[in-house]
Amino acid sequence: MAKEKFNIIQSTCIPIQIDNCNTDLIIPARYLASTTRDPKFFGDAFMHDLRYDADGKPVADFVMNQPAFSEAPRQGVHEIIVGGQNWGSGSSREHAAWAIAGYGVRVVISSSFADIHRNNLLNCFVLPVIVSPEFQQELFASIAADPQMQVKVDVPNQTVTNLATGNSEHFDINSYKKYCLMNAYDDIDFLLSNKDKIETFEGTHPLNPSL
């Protein structure tokens, strides 16, 4: 998985206005039986059962198939998803984050995220941005009025701006994760770099019965 450093992203959006959009919807279970992490495989499976009917034909009225939103993400285009509340609930499958990243999306904006999926997005270098329900609804309205409208996500300043209205909100991200995103730095690298602390801890921790 390519890790692209975060700074300022300005892009048109794909509105997926589904509340409680669970990870089974983001990627159905039959696409989980993979042993690799091919971005194209998972990107093609993103929202699969809403995008395609049982015969594999695109469902014309689903947002990702509408002409205004069907273009694959590239710089400045469809790099941002605006999702419904409680985005990514249900199964812990990181495949859902791989599907979003594999499709080419770099930011998901919602009023709330399920906890596990939110961590998975961050670990896949997709930024979850939490905004107020009012800001989220205004984004949906702005996109409906003009699908070409853009949103600016400024990671260094932690702001998200609806460029159609000029309204802006601050979003939270802890300094550690912000550093990771801006420097393409992984949690696993951090953990591997402080093995001494782990071993010191183990010296004081009553280890449970070994297998």
Binding site: D19, N20, N22, D24, L25, P28, A29, R30, L32, A33, S34, T35, T36, R37, A54, N86, S89, G90, S91, S92, R93, E94, H95, A97, S111, S112, F113, A114, D115, I116, R118, N119, N120, N123, C124, I130, F171, D172, N174, S175, Y176, K177, D186, D187, I188, F190, L191, L192, N194, K197, I198, F201, E202, H205, P206, L207, N208, P209, S210, L211
Partner: protein
């Protein structure tokens, strides 16, 4: 990390009362276990938390092992890790997996475990089963532990008095490489259930009731502790069901303080401490409870007497009603939610205000990490004993592990089931999630003891009603959605 502040899921920083763990002051169960596992708090960042037990299954682990190979590192503490396939396992035979993709996943898990020196319970052997059934029943999950697995229903193991959380594959790789994860500390919530559960009502109904009250995101950002007299009187199997469903209201963890019920359940099991070690462990485990003056970020109380057998009508587990109630009318739903309400009912082929009792069902499923334990099979058998399965119903009765299956046979429950026209299948996740041959066909209606009624969860186009083993058993006999109190 600042102990006085906690970032919530809606992005608002909320000041919290000081919560302390070891070293004095009052603490809740979650804090006590969490604090005992902190390796370090990263400045304005997450906590590096030590993990006592990692479980791995075939679906969410292959890419984690790849990460280790890419980075050229070994598994840091292989004796803390246990792996077994369960999602792709067929329930009709376990000689082979016909689907080449699923077969490769199961074979890959075994090969990875051999390469990295990890204990692996092979498909079709007596040790195998669904991780969340096997872990507690072998006492691989013990009070006071931190437990993770690349599976959201890891919350199950919290019922023994542990912090048990579902994680993603990147985090599985982190634990394999370092026995640690980086996590922000969740807020704490205590859910008290008080009183005696009415006849025909089970732990599953309690969980479905709480979800309907709190919604499927009501506990997002929190770790939940279940308490109260109803929980104290609940069996270990019931507690495991309740903790299992914590994730369905958004909580990653669902803890229950260990007590005599817990100790009696664990004692003598395969990996439980033995002899003097056992006595010493129990002495420590008795300290694992929230202090009397512990402060929770949120606390709610429900009365057991308000809970009846429950069913779901929609496509999230919170969209549920008591079995003798009607689906809400459109007027009862807030205006902003009506579009999604109607779209759920459209998928389910139900109407606002409809009564579901008496609706014909096509499939019944007893099993999954939610209700695949011995008590669930006893409950099912108590309803179907001396009766006959309805002809219109296809029934999948799938034990959660080979140990459960053996106990079903030892107790003669298999004969009661066979006499009533039911076949006992082989341990598997089975019809819970459509990753093995047990798929509900498009348009068919299943009443199921599993945990999710999502669109397509049991198969593309499949429709799911979630219910308890008693309700599923009653419906299997009549062929329609049936209140178990009327059997």
């Amino acid at each position: 990390m600042n102990n006085q502040q906690q970032t919530t899921t809606n992005g608002v920083s909320t000041p919290l009362p000081q919560r302390e763990g070891k070293g004095g002051g009052s603490a809740c169960l979650f804090d006590k276990i969490w604090n005992a596992h902190v390796v370090q708090n990263v400045e304005d960042g997450p906590t590096q938390l030590y993990i006592d037990r990692l479980y791995a299954h075939e679906v969410t682990s292959p890419q984690a092992f790849d990460t280790l190979r890419d980075k050229g590192v070994k598994v840091f503490r292989p004796d803390h890790v246990v792996a077994m396939p369960d999602h792709n396992t067929p329930s009709d035979q376990q000689e082979r997996i016909d689907d080449p993709v699923g077969r490769k996943q199961v074979e890959t898990l075994k090969a990875n475990c051999e390469e990295f020196g990890i204990k692996h319970f092979t498909m079709g052997t007596k040790d195998n089963g669904i991780i969340h059934v096997v872990g507690p029943e072998k006492a691989l999950s013990l009070p006071g532990m931190t437990i993770v697995c690349g599976d959201s229903h890891t919350s199950t193991h919290g019922a023994v008095g542990a912090i048990a959380m579902g994680i993603g594959t990147s985090e599985v790789a982190q634990v394999l490489a370092s026995q640690c994860i980086l996590q922000s500390k969740p807020k704490t919530m205590r859910i008290n259930i008080e009183g005696t559960l009415p006849k025909g009502t089970t732990a599953k109904d309690v969980a479905l009731y709480i979800m309907a009250q709190m919604t499927t995101s009501g506990a997002t950002g929190y770790a939940v502790e279940y308490a109260g007299s109803t929980i104290r009187n609940m069996s270990m199997e019931g507690r495991l069901t309740l903790s299992n469903l914590s994730i369905e209201m958004g909580s990653r963890a669902g803890l229950i303080a260990p007590d005599e019920t817990t100790f009696a359940y664990l004692k003598g099991r395969e990996y439980a401490p033995k002899g003097a070690e056992w006595d010493k462990a129990v002495e420590e485990w008795r300290k694992l409870k929230s202090d009397d003056d512990a402060v929770f970020d949120k606390e709610v109380t429900y009365r057991a007497e308000d809970i009846a057998p429950r069913i779901t009508y929609g496509t999230n587990p919170g969209a549920g009603i008591a079995i003798d109630e009607c689906i809400p009318t459109l007027e009862q739903i807030p205006e902003t939610d009506r579009g999604q309400f109607l779209s759920m009912l459209d998928y389910m082929q139900f109407k606002p205000g409809q009564k579901l009792e008496g609706t014909p069902v096509d499939y019944v499923f007893l099993g999954a990490c939610t209700n695949g334990r011995i008590e669930d099979f006893r409950a099912f058998a108590s309803v179907v004993k001396g009766k006959k399965k309805a002809d219109n119903v296809v029934a999948w009765l799938v034990p959660g592990s080979w140990l459960v299956r053996q106990q079903i046979i030892d107790e003669g429950i298999d004969k009661i089931l066979a006499d009533a026209g039911f076949e006992l299948r082989l341990p598997s996740c089975s019809a819970c999630l459509a990753m093995n041959p047990d798929k509900v066909p498009a348009g068919k209606l299943a009443i199921s003891t599993s945990n999710r009624n999502f669109v397509g969860r049991q198969g593309p186009g499949a429709r799911t009603i979630l219910a308890s083993p008693l309700t599923v058993a009653a419906s299997a006999i009549t062929g329609v959605v049936t209140d178990p109190r009327k059997m």
